[in-house]
Symmetry: D3
């Protein structure tokens, strides 16, 4: 189904293995999901993406669970099925409750709707919303 062959740990170059090792160590699990096995087609891109993701998704001014909500929202609007599945699973693993999921869903549905309405009518930005 992929356009590239998935590269398993056993078949990976040392450069790719180093990234896989860091994924395993960071996540404290042997499981490496298909995204990384596919991205290994370009080892430099694999490394760049993993180390950036590790930094961006770490706890900071925003809670890691909140970051997953944002990730899911983007992935839905971009129609990336794999991304929706993997980040919904990640959100569950980070403690997302069913009530939170229900509200995430409602906000995403509302945002899509008003995005469509605003765009249809080509509403001009209010002065009050401009950065001073």
């Amino acid at each position: 189904m992929t356009t590239v062959a998935l590269i398993e740990y056993e078949d990976a170059s040392p450069e790719v293995r180093a990234v896989y090792d860091d994924i395993r160590a960071t996540r404290k699990t042997d499981f490496i999901n298909n995204f990384w096995k596919a991205l290994a087609v370009n080892p430099a891109q694999l490394a760049r993406t993993w180390y950036a993701a590790k930094e961006v998704m770490a706890p900071g001014a925003l809670d890691p669970l909140v970051k997953e909500f944002i990730y899911i929202a983007v992935s839905v609007a971009n129609g990336c099925s794999y991304c929706i599945h993997s980040h919904t699973a990640a959100a569950k693993a980070k403690g997302m409750t069913e009530a939170q999921y229900g509200e995430l869903l409602a906000v995403i549905g509302m945002a899509h709707s008003t995005n469509g309405l605003v765009t249809t009518m080509q509403v001009p930005v209010d002065d009050a919303f401009q950065v001073k």
Copy 2:
């Protein structure tokens, strides 16, 4: 610039005024932003959208600021400039710090990138991500 004329309070029908009144009372301000003035072209749609938005964006299992982050993320992926401006302003009004904004930005950038990578390679969903 809009495709419809904006309807001011003074020119609005009683049905539209009732919604405008509720917007003002809920937000504790006389300011009504252009979106609602444009949507008044269809009073039933105006009422439906406002009362749904009021319910969906209220505090619940998710914090109202978190809901704004999700709203911004969807609006970016849908390319809705007005929505990005209005919800970024709303997030600031609800206390978003510059550090939070910086991380919101980083997560949105990361999500778009991996959405593009995953979609290019058509990565299949791992069994581990499926709902049981």
Copy 3:
């Protein structure tokens, strides 16, 4: 603002003028909108696009006004501001009433919302919806 220079009738090659002439004759007006003046950067593409559009948008099994509704709907979802403006103007010229516009708006808003909800939850297609 365009990335190409707009080509006016006076400055156009015979190949481009032939298309402009047909646009004018078909629409019974001297007005040529910016899209065609920009597309003239590639005369073969200009001709291909105009003659296809003329055929596709003509009366047929679907009413020309209905075709404009469909065009607006696609343009909104693709975020093409120019296209929304030009086809909303075309719909008005073809007799769209305010009540029709209000319902068009409502359907577009509803479709965006359920698109977002369905995609978030990755709902599988019911067997009943499959083509036999």
Copy 4:
């Protein structure tokens, strides 16, 4: 495949059953499609969405079949496979002919193409298209 469990009538809460009952009564069939069974994860959202959809998709200034065409056009541009299948099935049930489908297809293809062309060249909106 969904990120939530589908809720069957037998397992639904009274609040959810009330919506299912209204879907069945309105559509005069026992069949409830997967979208609603998934959306039942958030009963308030289920009710809000169903009652809004019922109102928006009802006969009015636009014919119900025309509303389905608009719905399909939005769903295509948003890449919502489920929505395309369910609304194409709905359009067929409402009498869409093969000739109408062929023209719907042609308009959608044309709109996508010119959306892409306009956006590439960043064509400015003609004054003639602005709302007075």
Copy 5:
């Protein structure tokens, strides 16, 4: 899975067969991929699309392989799985190396990321980038 029945050569009208024959002659293979078999639902659209594609994708100022890269990039951003598969296969058939694919992937990932960042911040276009 399609919303239309695929039309095989044996069951095609003379009008459709003429296009199928030209596809086979142009590509020097008997294989006709599903896209054309589906599009045959509207024979005029089939002919228009095939002859335009043949012209647009032919060698010219851009190399045919470069045209495939552009096609893949658009298809990814539009989330068209079929298009990604068919044009990735076409790129391979035209000699795309694994190193080229790896870089195509990296550029697509980078473009998506900066698209998201720019849109979130609503960055104004620099004067230096305007067409003179």
Copy 6:
């Protein structure tokens, strides 16, 4: 118009200045475009993005001009006006001819059209296009 204040060199922190210096040195010009001045709101993101872009857009298996074509194609499909302007300017600076631009335009228009057609009909991927 941006949602953040643009940070000029004079007002930048040493961390941000270091990136600005590298942009200037790499591009052999003092000009720093608005994207980087906006992204400086998150210095870590600025650095990550610049150094990745520098690496990804450098000459390699793909020509830098070809990389700009791919970048433009993604930016169009994502509707990022700023990105379209900046990368079209970059392509011109790298020697894009008018004939090349005309063909780029034609391929983008064709790809959008067939993306829309394929998605409307939900065409299944041919076995021949699957990776072995």
